[in-house]
């Protein structure tokens, strides 16, 4: 009788560890790439091909030589991949704005806290969008402070 108790406890332990594994391996929502409709109808946009060569940064984009360093979430928010492989980031407490980070190697997606690393980049192509009345996203000029917050851990 006294020998049964440890076995029972061991069983319980295995049971609780398995429960943890089940919680951990819960399927995360499928990371479907997002696409946004841009307000400006400029002739050349990022990803377009000219003379069989790719436009990596177009009007409205800010290209920064990050030299392999990290790029950080400027505020708490959520990161998702878009169709062209860039990262779209929306701040939880900032309505009507969207940030686009292109050129990030193996980005961290999902919920991010302020100052958390999104990923590293060599040439970061950054854009800021503001939502328009018709639901499209317009390129707007980001403040220097905003860009600074993405480049240094806050």
């Amino acid at each position: 009788m006294s020998m049964i108790q440890p076995y029972w406890l061991t069983g319980l332990m295995i049971g609780s560890l398995t429960a943890c594994q089940i919680v951990r391996t819960q399927p995360s929502p499928p990371a479907k790439p997002m696409s946004i409709q841009i307000y400006q109808k400029w002739e050349l946009q990022r990803g377009d091909r000219v003379n069989n060569q790719t436009v990596v940064s177009a009007l409205g984009d800010l290209a920064i030589d990050v030299a392999g360093k990290a790029v950080y979430a400027p505020m708490s928010g959520e990161a998702k991949r878009d169709r062209t492989g860039c990262v779209l980031f929306a701040g939880t407490e900032l309505p009507a704005y969207l940030f686009r980070f292109c050129g990030i190697n193996t980005p961290k997606l999902g919920a991010l806290r302020k100052g958390q690393t999104i990923g590293t980049a060599n040439l970061l192509v950054f854009a800021t969008f503001q939502k328009q009345q018709n639901g499209t996203w317009a390129f707007v000029e980001p403040s220097k402070a905003m860009v600074e917050q993405t480049l240094k851990r806050s």
């Binding site: 943890c20 708490s76 959520e78 407490e93 309505p95 009507a96 328009q132 000029e141 403040s143």
Partner: protein, 144 residues
């Protein structure tokens, strides 16, 4: 006697091991369920959703006023929006997202669920947008 003693001395470390494993598993489960329940969460949870200035401590947003807000177009003058929403509960830290334009964010807890905050964004005294956010961000809400 000696056999019984040996058996006993063997049982104690096994029970301790099992108990510590259960404790570790419970903490892990608790952490996954709600990180804010553990004191360590102070290092990881966001502390951003904090008012920088309380305006009207008892301000709440009713369903009717939210419905009215939904009919207001972006770009409408702040005074008109405030006429519908009345004074906010508080203001968040001012920030500058667009170059040279101050972003002003005002917060209203919802009357039917005060744990949810409506954050209204104004720029240049014009209404820019709204977002509903759980006040305690225990479960990160999807914004994309």
């Amino acid at each position: 006697m000696t056999q019984k003693h040996r058996q006993h001395s063997l049982r104690v470390p096994i029970v301790l091991l099992v108990l510590s494993a259960i404790a570790a598993a419970s903490i892990k489960l608790l952490w996954q369920f709600n990180p804010n329940l553990l004191p360590i969460a102070a290092f990881t949870s966001t502390d951003e959703l904090q008012c920088s200035e309380i305006v009207t401590p008892d301000a709440l947003l009713s369903r009717e006023r939210i419905l009215k807000l939904m009919t207001i177009a972006e770009g409408t003058n702040k005074a008109r929006v405030r006429g519908v929403l009345k004074a906010p509960y508080c203001k968040l830290k001012p920030m500058t997202v667009r170059a040279g334009v101050a972003a002003e964010r005002e917060v209203y807890p919802l009357e039917f669920d005060p744990k949810i905050w409506a954050i209204i964004l104004y720029e240049d005294d014009n209404y820019v947008g709204v977002r509903l956010v759980p006040k305690t961000q225990q479960c990160p809400s999807s914004v994309l």
